[in-house]
Symmetry: C2
Subunit: 340 residues, 2 copies
Amino acid sequence: MAILGATGAVGTELLELLASRNFPLAELKLLASERSAGKRLNFRGESLLVEPVSDRAFDKVDIVLASAGGSTSKTWAGVAVDKGAVVIDNSSAFRMNPDVPLVVPEVNPQAAAKHKGIIANPNCTTILMSVAVWPLHQVQPIKRIVAATYQSASGAGAKAMEEVKIQTSAILQGQEPVAEVLPYPLAFNLFPHNSPLTDSGYCEEELKMVNETRKIFGNQDIRITATCVRVPVLRAHSEAINLEFDTPFSPDAAREILSQAPGVKLVENWQTNYFPMPMEASGKDEVLVGRIRQDISHPCGLELWLCGDQIRKGAALNAVQIAELLVEKNLMRPLSVVNG
Amino acid sequence: MAILGATGAVGTELLELLASRNFPLAELKLLASERSAGKRLNFRGESLLVEPVSDRAFDKVDIVLASAGGSTSKTWAGVAVDKGAVVIDNSSAFRMNPDVPLVVPEVNPQAAAKHKGIIANPNCTTILMSVAVWPLHQVQPIKRIVAATYQSASGAGAKAMEEVKIQTSAILQGQEPVAEVLPYPLAFNLFPHNSPLTDSGYCEEELKMVNETRKIFGNQDIRITATCVRVPVLRAHSEAINLEFDTPFSPDAAREILSQAPGVKLVENWQTNYFPMPMEASGKDEVLVGRIRQDISHPCGLELWLCGDQIRKGAALNAVQIAELLVEKNLMRPLSVVNG
């Protein structure tokens, strides 16, 4: 196995997960850009050298976990696939490609079997929402989703997290916050998601929630709208989700279903007003779901609230789960073909 | 005129607004609880003594701006009315009372004329949303609203703002944040609004948005659902609003209407991804509105995003505007009746 982008926030999390989940590994290669190569990272008590990515780096590699951004994936995924590897790509480069399965293991594990060398890991907000609403969709098809997100700085990378801390410290000392990584100061502030805007008026992050959810669910009929917002939280995303069904969906039934759903943890204490919070979702595998209630504006509506660690389940964990699926279902490619 | 609750966050803002708007005042009495009485506050260059609230304190007072909480309003509003004053009450105590007009001057100024001594100032998130969507509702009735809010610490008072700063500072120094004013740490975190939960699963803050909006709009048919969330912003609330009409509402038409609407400032730069932010709404009179777009999940849907200073337009400014309306339309009560 190789990790491409080993030194990034998701790369660090991948290493931790491969170790803690005892992923069966013959060898682990850490790959990064020239700039980050030469660093050493700990893995299961060993110090591993980060190598610069190159054609040769993918020799005899069965699985590549790529998390170095879209352009790196576009450059190297084909090379890795040509050498016989399966690339599990965390970027948006291949997600909407009809030849590339887009997989959330709790939702559509069967899609992974159809891969032609690349499997895409969905967008973080999309993964979190999918895990939470898919079990309900199985019981009664969702007709429409109106989502509003509360996305942490970590979604924009480790540098954005650092910037928010520096800005916060400046404001507490009565100084002006400086924004360099993110477009505007995020400390004690918030703003609509900073991904590029499209002609529809939606930003790319919002359209990912729309289009990727439909692809993952294998259902082009679900109508989805979203407003994505960056908030001054360091880690873990939150989402207010309004669901519309064809017939009423009882909150108690939804609660019962979600309390047993894979990857979901029901967090609700109505007495103490205790529901999912990013503080508690950080570092957790599960998507925390709560505040399930009958939508008082629609007889067939259901409201819910979720928080999830978007570096973990929203990125690294989902990728490792896909890799586990490949091993378990024997979906790897015959390396001999290309090494011959 | 008297301000009841002069030393609080809204009280301070009321003083500032009465001065900056040159409100016609014969006398201004500052009233507060025994605990806060004795303090001195500056007003138009004068140092005014804060008096303890009492029966006699309302003698010869024409207007009372009350912002000392529901129980104080319940105790003193009747006394002030008996003495001939009009009470503009910022608490939730009388808002849903059918004998009490609930007024947003940009929306239903005519309702103020029907007062019987008390006029209620609506909830902050409700005022902000009302100002922004009423001009659209005038052109085409709104059928349904799905709202998600991003509410700042100041909504929970000055102590909550201070607590968030202390928590933030603690976290930056690697210490555990302590929550005493708010139920959970808000620094770098967020949680569903901490108002009491009702049997419906909605918290009181959410139901205020539902019920107060209907009363202000004089329309019980609008269906409204909301998810209210506290975010680690010091001041100014934000709201993601999804509107549903009976027929399509073009975003350009909405933009044109809102660019001329009273109390609204259109803030949209699609090239630079620049839209309303709490940082810029703080201290401003207007509700900033932007990201107006056709809802891609519904042919008759419209999405918009707003930020507004909930201490200013969401509380103090709205109250002062109501007082201005009373003066302008001569809606004050004859003081002689009760002073005789």
